[in-house]
């Protein structure tokens, strides 16, 4: 259904259209909490919500990454008891060291944390693109943001120029032949790299002088903002703060407490789980709301 709405190449995502500050804060909260919470119920909530949003962002290709995380999960789980020998029920002995059930469960919890982190970072990479980052921090670190913007421009420029250099060398008969030796290939690579560096650095000095001549550094720079905090953004921010506040209160009340070694002790599941899950479902909920709205407005036509 979503594929039909969003088309094949560009996936529409409502959360990505929000203000970068909202996106950034959401991921700080989601990833930050995923590292601290080790109660199995909350871990499960984190994995499911993270996987859903990851799949919404990546479509069918997302399955590949998620399945790729499985072996990672297994390995991290199995390794833990080798280093952590505490626990009441030994399964077998590995040399003189016991391999305990509790440590195995603890390993599974730690591996889940890792998986959740990977999933949310996967989503972060899709949502918080480089332009959003520089927009967010442009005022705080102006020189470094400018540096980043320039790097992002230069990299594709380099690729183009490298191809031009190789083409130019070929047309004057200096290119490498199909069956060149490794030494010839390296020498050729060195020459291309050298001329690319010269060209890029000379260009950079000219650019720098030109920037200075046009008044760079003469006064405080203002920056162009693509994004503006809308009503929806403020509401989202408020909802996020309330939910994260509730989660922290729940954590302070000990609802997330979980010890695995030497004996497994879990706090009973309570309202904290609802707050945490709702927080993590914010992007998914936005996505679904937008899709439903689109369908309704389209059916009216």
């Amino acid at each position: 259904m979503w594929a039909a709405v969003t088309g094949k190449t560009m996936r529409y995502d409502a959360f990505s259209k929000c203000h970068p500050a909202v996106n950034f804060l959401f991921f700080v909260g989601a990833i930050g909490m995923s590292v601290v919470i080790q109660h199995p119920a909350y871990l499960l909530a984190g994995i499911i919500t993270g996987a859903i949003y990851y799949l919404l962002l990546n479509g069918k290709k997302g399955w590949k990454t998620i399945l790729g995380l499985l072996p990672m999960f297994m390995i991290l789980t199995v390794i833990n008891p080798l280093f952590n020998t505490l626990g009441a029920t030994p399964l077998f002995h590995f040399g003189s060291r016991p391999y305990t059930l509790e440590a195995l469960f603890y390993g599974a919890a730690l591996a889940s944390m890792f998986v959740i982190m990977m999933l949310w970072f996967g989503c972060y990479n899709k949502v918080l693109t480089s332009d959003k980052f520089t927009c967010l921090f442009g005022n705080l670190i102006p020189s470094i943001s400018l540096l980043l913007v320039m790097v992002f421009r230069i990299v594709p420029n380099f690729i183009r120029k490298t191809q031009q250099i190789i083409g130019a060398r070929k047309s004057i008969g200096k290119g490498i032949s199909e069956n060149a030796t490794t030494k010839e290939k390296l020498q050729d690579g060195g020459t291309v790299l050298g001329s690319l560096t010269s060209w890029a650095l000379e260009g950079s000095v000219v650019t720098g002088d030109s920037m200075r001549a046009r008044g760079y550094g003469a006064a405080k720079r203002s920056s162009f903002m693509m994004y503006r905090m809308t009503g929806t953004d403020w509401i989202l921010l408020a909802v996020m703060l309330v939910l994260i506040g509730a989660t922290i209160v729940a954590a302070c009340l000990g609802q997330f407490a979980a010890t695995f070694v030497p004996a497994i002790q879990l706090a009973p599941v309570s309202w904290g789980l609802a707050a945490y899950t709702c927080y993590l479902l914010i992007p998914t909920a936005l996505h679904i709301k937008e899709t439903i709205q689109w369908h309704i407005s389209r059916s009216k036509i």
């Binding site: 670190i141 010269s198 200075r212």
Partner: protein, 234 residues
């Protein structure tokens, strides 16, 4: 006192102790948050110092170009864990001084992760790459070490396997290892060693083959445009 010095003092005597105090109370993998927060706090003085002295346009653009070359060094070789990025960061440090080396390292780590994917390891990578560039800049400044290919190759190899590589392995320890004790720390460093070794070999090859031509080009540019004459190097 300069702003950046005040920032350094605040970071060392206020931010890091506070982070350690609250970090020790976090459950679960809280030590990852603590470690990463401290790494980010350690980078603040560097970035503040850079922002604080309002770098000239020329300097910004040259650093941007070196970052782009470093990123190309990560992308150009299609063999995993065999990347020219370390060598190019170190060469930037050698050519333009420790501060430029740090900036090139940190920024190229951060910027290249926009192509490769940001992760929990990003701050560690920025710190490790930056530290590599800074160390190279420091060791080769004022003719402390001769800029000969062999010297640079040995330096690059040692710096990669003993300095940048282990710093990167630390992120692995905080992120993946379940119990932090000497056994698991040594295991993490040992399992990271082959990766560091292959990076080190790549650094040696790049230093031996391309360091001199690249430095010649950089020196020529510096001479031609009268850079490296001011206080700040550029």
């Amino acid at each position: 006192m300069k702003k950046s010095n005040i920032a350094t003092l605040i970071v060392f005597f206020l931010l890091i102790p506070v982070t350690l105090f609250f970090g020790s109370k976090l459950p679960g993998r809280g030590y990852y948050i603590t470690g990463t927060a401290i790494i980010i706090e350690l980078m603040i003085p560097f970035f503040m110092a850079f922002e604080g002295r309002r770098p000239q346009a020329r300097e910004l653009v040259v650093i941007a170009v070196m970052c782009a070359i470093a990123i190309a060094g990560r992308a150009a070789i299609p063999i995993p864990n065999f990347k020219a990025i370390f060598a190019i960061i170190m060469l930037s440090g050698i050519a333009f001084g420790p501060e430029a080396g740090f900036m090139v390292g940190a920024i190229s780590a951060f910027a290249s992760n926009f192509f490769y994917g940001q992760g929990a390891y990003t701050p560690w990578q920025m710190m490790a790459y930056g530290a590599g560039g800074m160390l190279a800049g420091f060791c080769f400044a004022k003719g402390r070490l001769p800029q000969k290919p062999l010297v640079m190759a040995v330096f690059g190899f040692l710096a990669t396997i003993l300095w940048v590589g282990p710093l990167l392995d630390c992120s692995h320890i905080f992120l993946m290892v379940s119990v932090i004790n000497w056994d698991s720390i040594i295991a993490a460093f040992v399992s990271g060693f082959p990766v560091n070794l292959s990076q080190g070999i790549c650094t040696v090859l790049v230093m031996l083959l391309f360091a001199r031509p690249l430095l010649d080009k950089l020196d020529r540019i510096k001479g031609k445009y009268g850079m490296m004459e001011g206080e700040n190097g550029l």
